[in-house]
Symmetry: C2
Subunit: 202 residues, 2 copies
């Protein structure tokens, strides 16, 4: 597919954000969120501190933007897993959660989130203050589900998506069994609702 010719400026803005996120990830690889400063992120990206504030508003908003940006990776994988099982909704949910937990196991973002020892890490971005992330992930996931089951009731899809997002966050921050069992159990737990909402045999 021909890359939709985005005007140069759009691409430049995207490059700016990407560059800044890269710099932040590199810093967060060694230091906690509270240890790194906006000035360090800016200079790491070869950009002025003001540019950071212009683009992201404040430190907190940048944190959210970073988490969401990094989170895109997971949604991409999840989408693939879901759309590979449009004939079996329960399997789709299981595969998606399994895929998520597996890829999370050695992902930089998750490493960063879990390295929070309670003194200024990024965990709050997905927990106590995690509403924006939950909403973003819910919207993304709901869109994926609607892609696979267009005729499913929107309210049911949204409820299912939000629940899955919250469970996923819970299981990734507080791991239980191995991914395959976790995924299978959740799929079984939500099975009846899934059948009702997405149809048991399309």
């Amino acid at each position: 597919m021909a890359t939709a010719r985005t005007p140069y400026q759009e691409a430049a803005r995207e490059l700016l954000r990407q560059t800044v996120f890269d710099a932040a990830r590199e810093l967060l690889d060694q230091h906690s969120w509270s240890e790194i400063t906006m000035a360090e992120i800016a200079s790491g990206a070869g950009v002025s501190r003001q540019t950071l504030y212009n683009e992201f508003g404040n430190r907190n908003e940048f944190g959210f933007a970073f988490v969401i940006h990094e989170g895109e990776r997971f949604l991409d994988g999840v989408e693939e897993a879901v759309l590979a099982h449009t004939d079996d909704p329960r399997a789709a949910v299981g595969a998606a959660l399994d895929q998520f937990l597996r890829s999370a196991a050695d992902d930089p973002l998750i490493r960063i989130l879990l390295s929070d020892d309670g003194t200024g890490g990024m965990l709050p971005f997905v927990t106590t203050q995690g509403l924006p992330v939950v909403q973003w992930a819910t919207d993304r996931l709901a869109a994926v589900i609607e892609k696979g089951w267009p005729q499913a009731p929107a309210a049911d899809v949204k409820l299912l998506a939000e629940s899955l997002v919250r469970l996923a966050i819970s299981y990734v921050t507080t791991p239980g069994e191995a991914p395959e069992y976790t995924a299978a159990h959740v799929a079984e737990l939500l099975g009846p609702f899934i059948d009702k909402a997405l149809g048991s045999a399309e």
Copy 2:
């Protein structure tokens, strides 16, 4: 290797050039060099015409920049081919030329160059006015050879590189035998000099 953290502005300039080159390639796929205007290239890239002139100077310089930019592809392939035969200089030259002629066979740049019917194509950029391109390619190729045979006399390397570049341009614009024979014959032709300059059994 960790991508050398290039300051954002460097990357932005690179993005600009890349975007413009992409737009030009797309236009040149359908029209000849003389048929497309600087204004069309600019708008194709989502950039003002002035920005084009600021970055490239004039139409002619842009042409050279485009050809050289597209030519980087070949040098990358050639470098790989050469460095795979540092134990056998003749084979290295043969493999490099073979690699070049093969990849040229279905390359967009070569298609564009060869589609010149004499009425305003890009052929002059590599022939009658091709000195800048020859010099650029010679420098690049000489650097590759010096990487593989550091102790070879610089003058010999430069002479060999320039000759190969000129032969390569000749054979790509005026094809003779199949690539493998052409490459083998040239390697044989230059063999004695290669042995002398790079060493016959290093």
